[in-house]
């Protein structure tokens, strides 16, 4: 299973692998929002956690369809399904690869991009922590959505329609925790909820995603 993780990581950094695209998208969102909202530092600082969270979520969404689609098209998903690797394990490894390539860079970059939106000092730390806790859930939920739509010709748009409502709780608790933390309020509850959603997603969704993949391969 580690081999699968290593292969996916290797593929993502090779030509056409799309590494960094999500990050670039995230940067562009963080630059465009001030253009739309205006340069007042106060307003920007206030909406920054929400914008960064939405931006990270959309950047994550961009690369979701690649999680299984390419493997489905070139037949390696068929071969993986007959290999001595449990499908659930393969799903976890693929989601982990997606997180390492997309979620983790976003988490690391968010405090930096927060500076673009005049975010004040403790805010950086809160962005980092909430995204670190929340983005694994985004990758895992996304992998589930990708597994549902893997057999479809134009699955990309449908995938967004399926996955975005599932992202609602993560987004609400994540952004709420960041906002509260930044304002110096108690952020324990939303933080725990984000962690809980991530833990629950990683524990349970691989089974749903693997079931969806098996159904799609039939």
């Amino acid at each position: 299973m580690i081999a699968l993780l290593l292969r996916d990581l290797r593929l993502s950094v090779r030509a056409g692998g799309g590494f960094g695209l999500g990050l670039a998208f995230f940067l562009i969102v963080s630059v465009l929002v001030p253009f739309g909202v205006g340069p007042e530092a106060e307003i920007l600082a206030r909406i920054a956690p929400g914008i960064l969270w939405v931006g990270a979520l959309l950047a994550c969404l961009l690369s979701l369809d690649r999680i299984f689609q390419l493997d489905f098209e070139d037949g390696s998903l068929d071969l993986l399904a007959t290999a001595p690797v449990p499908m659930e394990g393969a799903v976890v490894m693929k989601a982990l690869a997606h997180w390492l390539v997309t979620g983790l860079p976003l988490t690391l970059a968010a405090p930096l991009f927060g500076g673009l939106m005049s975010m004040a000092a403790p805010g950086h730390w809160w962005m980092f922590v909430t995204l670190l806790l929340g983005t694994p859930a985004l990758s895992m939920i996304g992998a589930f959505g990708a597994a549902l739509t893997v057999g479809l010709k134009r699955g990309g748009l449908l995938l967004s329609l399926l996955v975005l409502p599932l992202y609602v709780p993560t987004l609400i608790f994540g952004a709420e925790a960041a906002t509260r933390g930044m304002a110096g309020l108690d952020a324990t509850t939303p933080l725990l909820m984000v962690a809980g959603i991530t833990a629950g997603s990683v524990a349970l969704l691989p089974f749903a995603a693997a079931a969806a993949l098996r159904i799609n391969l039939r």
Binding site: I141, F144, L148, T149, G151, L152, G155, L158, L161, L162, L164, P165, L166, V168, P169, I172, F173, E176, T189, P190, M193, I197, L205, A208, A211, A212, I215, N216, R218
Partner: protein, 257 residues
Amino acid sequence: MESTRTKQAKDRWNWLWEWANPVKFMALSGKALPWVIGLTVISLTVGLVWGFFFTPEAINFGSSVKIIYVHVPSAMMAINIWVMMLVASLIWLVRRHHVSALAAKAAALVGVVMTVIALITGAIWGEPMWGTYWAWDPRLTSFLVLFLFYLGYMALWAAIEDPDTAADLTSVLAIVGSVFALLSRYAVNFWNQGLHQGASLSLDKEENVADVYWQPLVICLAGFVLLFIALLLVRTRTEVRKRRIHALEMRERMADA
């Protein structure tokens, strides 16, 4: 020639008819449908006419309050239909009863219409009550999210060609979606405490609406439940027939090959 062949095929499949759910379903639902439709018409007419024309105007709200006779039942059905879809999906996954999967599919459109009615009547009611058509009130927001879940569910049904695959995948989505819909409800509550009044129909609470309003409301609720059952039966019957056509077309194609 054609008819004898069909007859033979039927004879050969006779043993299957014993426990063939779709067949039994079609027979039973065909008989029940006129009764359900009749009851629906009666209860909705009585409930709505009573509610609209024979209840006093509320002191604070004027006649706008009467929209509860549509708003509350549709909101209740919007949630209950999703629960029904979840149960039907589970039955399909466990027992592989096709009618169950098709009923879930048939219910989705009714559910989404109920959600839209609840949202629109809520907006119309919200204007005189809160002075705005839309507020990010937790309950309104939850319904908006529920609407998105319905859309995704229906889009997935529509996107997949093979009916069994579609039934399987939408069932998985319904299960996962239910968990996340509940989470969203909790999240939205947490996110904004809201202006909505408490549930209009909790039996043990003081804030219950007065009896004069309550009695026609119960009849309307029953009417909406019956309306859903009637629509569900009609739509499921259509789905069963469509499925049958699909099966026949597949056989035809295979016979040609």
